[in-house]
Symmetry: C2
Subunit: 430 residues, 2 copies
């Protein structure tokens, strides 16, 4: 059991989003409401590396107004990382080091804000701390623009990317429609989504009727068929005078080979993708001869706090809040979930799920969300997606630019004599 | 002289912007206030092609509320085109055709909304109509995201792209700063601007102090020096832990050859598919080994009405308004200009300049706007740029998405017996 008054440790993991700091804000503001239970709040410098290296930012040093500003600030305010701990089955030294650091700083509450890989880390920390006789409450706060976490209805971070992609698609389509006769006929927007096509699917929200752009969506869930693709592009240009395509970075051929892109791998062994849009553009030019343009939003899409979904921001904040409440309630090894109420009006509540059901599992776009020809989304997908982009949560502006939080991020003095020997090779990963 | 009551013709030309429709709105609403002078208002379908083909949209059919919505709608509501009329010195047949169409529809006011090439067209039409004894008032309304029109202090369309690029750079930089230790070290954003680096320069607004990103800006005005570039990237990564680069699509080597060669192959034998950002990314990886990401906003930047500069929208509208007023005043062969008042607070007024001083001239980023090392902007540039991005002009949203005008665009019956034989080859230009 967690002792009556202990400290809390919060860390951000994996690719950051435009609303992960809203979850941090939810954690911090809620924890501050319980000084009888939670004494000090620390944040890991660069995610879990902060725990391994005993680099803890002291949240007490931050003003309430700076913490409030986290609600409207994109990126990871304390730094994040891509660093996968060793498999607990082969070595628990890293987990043990984390628990040692937690013990040295009297940490009883661990809040880990990340995706599927981080859920696994969070689970292992809960298990190892138990084994070591220093049980802590380890709660996972969902975060991923990819929306691929299982159990939860959606993941904080996704709704804002969905909104950005839907708006950008609608806007760029108006541009191309204006110019189609004498200029660009085919426009390709490449969006993120390595294995799951949720972000690409959200472009479908841009359309208000069947013939509206985007005319084609390419999902990683659907094998790329060159002939079918070219036929549909040609038909669309013939009929509409132009063709807008939104392609997921993870689109591959039937055999899994990428359409384009490097074969680099990131820290988790995932292929680092990119270059789908120029590859498709080249194909269109070579085979059909159409003038084309392409765009790749890359990090712009996941940091576009200026047009975040108010629903997403609320859910991100509430997930942080709920994590603290669950923790104070004695829960551990769970992830906060967002649950959709089964009624025509969208309503959501918070729940939780055991991390064992979450870790290392991916949720893909279901078959009945994708239209029969494989190039669009169904009404069912629209019904799922539309509530997630509702509301505009604008950041404050000064002098024409959004004002984002800049924290002090002061480290607390180390208490352990030994530093931990991180393998350098694992810090310069793909 | 224009007859007491005549009709007006408005057309959009060249690449569209997020605020060109605000100029259209300014023209239409102002013209509608003068029914004694301007009887009917027409808009060309796909720009000047609408005049050549006698395809005129009847603005009378549009509701006042739809016209009002043009203020917040990106793209070209009547269609635009890339079509350069033949040199008047070799053939005036196209100009004569346009005047014939104007005469058939009793058009005495011609408003042409475009960039440098269109200024030339507008001037020729004024001259040829004079020669043909059917003088019309031809007024050019400036429009270009490139900000390369001479005489005018700035061009409607630019301020909004500048704002989008500055915000996107600030947001993406927070993302990369969070992840720099274990993930991306170098991020490259490719922006538009073939010959003039105004858009790239505007990324410099994202910084609040010297070490802030963007750490490097690449201008078309400054020859690309590979060694110098790589040294600065390496120094920046060493010092800041990451490096954010904003590169203009028009960056070239000293001899004018492009950075991204279409025949280059990458390490994997893939054809290098154009694009300055991927080419620079490949260079960084090959020479310095840093993990990188890159983005190319392409049309997203020039259609991003969701984050338009309120100042830009006001100027675009006012330019349309002023065009009508100048026209009613008997002016012709002029372009409306935006003039900066010489006082510390930014104030602007409208003026005009003879088209002969505008047509086919480009305004580049001056040397004293670019920092000594060639990779940044000076205080002088900041002082020029900052006023142009002031204010947020948000469009109305329904169901989480911006609501953009959808006009009826009904053609008026043709009056001429002959159709005009457009050369098909010139309709598929670059």
């Amino acid at each position: 059991m967690v002792k009556p008054t202990m400290n809390a440790f919060y860390a951000q993991s994996g690719g950051v989003t435009s609303v992960i700091n809203a979850s941090a804000c939810g954690v911090i503001q809620t924890a501050r409401q319980h000084p009888d239970r939670i004494n000090r709040i620390y944040a890991g410098r660069n995610g879990i590396l902060g725990a391994l290296r005993e680099e803890l930012f002291d949240i007490q040093q931050e003003t309430t107004s700076d913490i409030e500003k986290l609600k409207t600030t994109p990126g990871g305010a304390f730094g994040s990382c891509r660093y996968k701990l060793k498999e607990a089955s082969s070595s628990t030294s890293e987990y043990k080091r984390i628990i040692d650091v937690f013990e040295a700083h009297n940490i009883g509450y661990f809040f880990y804000n990340g995706g599927g890989d981080s859920a696994d880390t969070c689970l292992k920390i809960a298990q190892v701390s138990e084994q070591m006789g220093y049980p802590i409450s380890a709660i996972h706060i969902p975060k991923t623009i990819d929306n691929d976490l299982p159990v939860t209805d959606c993941s904080p971070g996704f709704g804002s990317v969905a909104k950005y992609v839907a708006i950008s698609t609608r806007e760029a389509s108006l541009d191309i429609a204006s110019m189609r006769e004498t200029s660009t006929k085919v426009f390709i927007l490449e969006v993120m989504g390595r294995n799951a096509g949720w972000i690409a699917a959200s472009a479908g929200l841009a359309a208000t009727k069947a013939s509206d752009p985007p005319h084609m969506i390419l999902f990683p869930e659907i094998a790329f068929d060159k002939a079918k693709f070219l036929t549909k592009v040609e038909q669309t240009v013939s009929k509409e005078g132009f063709c807008v395509i939104v392609a997921s970075e993870g689109v591959t051929y039937q055999d899994g080979s990428p359409i384009a892109g490097s074969t680099d791998k990131d820290a988790f062994g995932h292929k680092q993708l990119g270059g789908v849009a120029p590859a498709l553009a080249e194909l269109v030019k070579k085979e059909l001869g159409y003038k084309h343009h392409w765009a790749k939003s890359d990090y712009l899409q996941r940091s576009a706090r200026h047009i975040a979904s108010a629903t997403d921001v609320s859910q991100a904040y509430a997930a942080g809040q709920q994590a603290v409440e669950k923790s104070l309630n004695g829960d551990s090894a769970i992830m906060v979930t967002i649950e959709r109420e089964m009624n025509p009006d969208y309503e959501w509540t918070l729940g939780s799920a055991p991390l064992i059901d979450i870790a290392n599992k991916e949720k893909f776009v279901p078959a009945d969300f994708i239209s029969r020809d494989g190039f669009g989304i169904t009404q069912k997908a629209l019904d799922y997606l539309l509530p997630l982009i509702q509301g505009e949560s604008y950041p404050p502006y000064i002098d024409g630019l959004p004002q984002y939080a800049k924290l002090k991020n002061r480290l607390v003095p180390k208490k352990l004599l030994q530093s931990f020997n991180l393998l350098a090779t694992r810090l310069t990963c793909g």
